[in-house]
């Protein structure tokens, strides 16, 4: 019964627009595969064990190796000072970790992460947290284009403005933008949620397959097959709680947010696995 209630609840929130029937989409872990719960070479860390270092004169690979070495030594809270907008910092972290950057990051920061809680006390360049699987990543200032490209899970937050193509190819998780988001935000979005508290640029949600976008400000224009939807009370409650968790709020209340979903006129992928397709064909 609890399962049925949960299903109704998730449908009420606009989740599961698409019926998931594929094998790989439904079962990620099973108790029999307990060895798979942890990534190889992930580390046992103590979140109260803090370490910090100055990255100002370090090369990119040396900085990433230093983070890894500190995790290996059991540090669960790492502060990187003076990152100086260098590229590809904090990437590929598959660990519980509290990671702080005291400054700005360049391109491809914190890509391919699964699990850490990241805070950037500055701006990030293009493609921050690309392919993020889980965890929380918060940017205190602005972000460049393709913010959260292809993320699959977790919360990705930018408290300032973001460039174009935010959440391109988003496959899950939640992207939150405190300010404006540029052109083609939500382009080819497949699942997950995006909350833009400011304005959205041209072609919002262009060619989105699924997922939901909420916008607090003006929408310059909608993209192909992106259509308005209605926010349910359940969704409004969820958005309220999600925003407050990150110290944000909708300027005119969550009920005033505009909801954008896929019209599905262009929807051209089905729920079948390749092998199942062969059988059908």
């Amino acid at each position: 019964m609890a399962e049925v209630d949960g299903q109704h609840k998730s449908h009420g929130m606009g989740l599961h627009e698409e019926q998931l029937t594929g094998r790989t989409q439904q079962i990620f872990f099973s108790p029999e595969e307990s060895d798979n719960f942890l990534y190889p070479e992930s580390f046992e860390v103590d979140l109260d064990n803090k370490a910090e270092f100055d990255a100002g004169d370090m090369e990119i690979s040396a900085i990433n190796l230093k983070i890894r070495a500190l995790m290996q030594a059991g540090h669960g809270h790492i502060v990187v000072k003076n990152p100086l907008a260098k590229h590809s910092l904090g990437v590929g972290i598959l660990n519980r970790l509290k990671l702080e950057f005291e400054g700005s990051l360049g391109y491809f920061g914190c890509g391919l992460i699964d699990g850490p809680n990241v805070t950037v006390h500055g701006r990030v360049g293009w493609s921050f947290a690309e392919n993020m699987m889980a965890g929380v990543a918060v940017v205190e200032k602005n972000a460049g284009s393709t913010f959260g490209a292809a993320i699959r899970g977790g919360d990705l937050v930018c408290k300032g403005d973001v460039g174009s193509r935010t959440g391109i190819d988003q496959k899950g998780g939640t992207v939150i933008v405190g300010g404006r988001s540029g052109a083609f935000s939500g382009f080819m979005m497949q699942r997950g949620r995006m909350i833009i508290l400011g304005d959205a640029g041209i072609n919002l949600g262009d060619s989105m397959y699924d997922g939901t976008i909420y916008v607090g400000g003006k929408i310059e224009s909608l993209g192909v097959d992106a259509v308005p939807g209605e926010i349910s009370d359940l969704e409004a409650d969820w958005i309220e709680r999600k925003l407050s968790a990150h110290g944000l709020s909708a300027p005119n209340g969550v009920k005033s947010l505009q909801k954008i979903v896929a019209g599905k006129k262009l929807w051209n992928y089905d729920n079948l696995e390749p092998t199942e397709k062969k059988i059908v064909l």
């Binding site: 907008a85 360049g125 200032k141 602005n142 460049g144 284009s145 300032g160 460039g163 052109a183 083609f184």
Partner: protein, 317 residues
């Protein structure tokens, strides 16, 4: 790829040669083929700064006669400057094939038509290309990374108010000086352009602009932007208006910077597919393809942001 950078000091002259070298060197990974600088110094009297070359760097490694040939070409340039009613006040040879002249026109008068005729006369000499001509602008470009070009042309101590620069990864034209950026907006003195992107209606526009009497020195699509802006301004259009028009008329993905005697501008296409990061304070504006370039001259934390799609901005010094 390709990297572009620009800066403008609003509170007077500064070490722009060293600053632009640092910014471009930080962008070396975006394009190591060539580097170029458009530096704006303090104008002196009514003199014009002339930067020109009489051969490509690559040519210097070929043939027994090229060294004598280069001297011969330079002598013809000198002769034609004199016969155009101008005198060479100051002369520096940064390399065997590229030169920096301070030129004074005898009656102090050098209107647009006269400058165009002068430029055409010089460029009529085999191998000669005027890289820039202006009261403040000095345009330097050559093969190699920014540090190499800066050292070669002694730019580290260049003082001025603003600059734009470029690191090039050649994608659609040759690796040579004529295809390197920045481009001078011939025949307009003191206007230069750098660009990152691809223009997809290059040939159509080029043919149209050639019919209107403009000259192209390369097959690089970036040169089109400089010539396009020159053409629109020759019709009386203001720089910012011409830039805004370019965003709708030029097709493709592009971000470009333009500098004039007293201003710096940026334009971004409507797809916003090419990066640009901006830092603005009361006395300084810095723009670059990546923040790491701006941070090469500001180690302390600063607030930066991305201009949006279709955005055009112009700052005065």
């Amino acid at each position: 790829m390709c990297g572009i950078a620009g800066l403008i000091h609003r509170d007077g002259s500064a070490d722009i040669g060293g600053e632009m070298t640092s910014m471009l060197q930080a962008l070396k990974h975006r394009g190591p083929d060539s580097s170029g600088f458009a530096l704006y110094g303090e104008p002196q009297n009514d003199d014009y700064m002339l930067r020109f070359k009489v051969a490509e760097q690559e040519e210097m490694a070929h043939g027994f006669d090229i060294h004598a040939e280069v001297k011969k070409r330079k002598a013809i340039v000198d002769e034609r400057i004199q016969s155009s009613g101008a005198s060479i006040v100051e002369e520096q040879d940064a390399t065997e094939y590229a030169f920096r002249y301070r030129v004074r026109f005898s009656n102090g008068d050098a209107n647009q038509d006269k400058l165009k005729r002068f430029a055409d006369y010089i460029e009529d000499i085999e191998g000669a290309e005027i890289l820039s001509m202006g009261r403040a602008l000095e345009l330097i470009k050559d093969l190699g990374d920014a540090t190499r070009v800066s050292d070669q042309y002694h730019l580290g101590t260049f003082k001025g108010t603003h600059a734009i620069g470029h690191t090039r990864m050649a994608t659609e034209s040759d690796v040579d000086i004529r295809s390197a950026h920045p481009y001078w907006a011939y025949p307009f003195s003191d206007i230069a352009v750098v660009h990152n992107g691809q223009l997809t209606n290059y040939w159509g526009f080029r043919r149209e602009l050639e019919r209107r009497g403009h000259r192209f020195m390369s097959n690089c699509d970036s040169e089109l932007i400089a010539v396009y802006l020159a053409d629109r301004m020759s019709d009386g259009m203001k720089l910012k208006d011409a830039m805004e028009l370019s965003v709708s008329e030029l097709d493709g993905v592009f971000t470009y910077l333009v500098a004039t005697a007293d201003s710096l501008g940026m334009a971004k296409d409507t797809m916003a597919a090419k990066p640009l990061v901006l830092y603005e304070s009361d006395n300084f504006i810095g723009v670059a393809s990546e923040e790491v370039a701006i941070r090469s001259i500001f180690r302390d934390e600063i607030d930066t942001w991305d201009p949006y799609e279709g955005e055009v901005m112009v700052w005065q010094k």
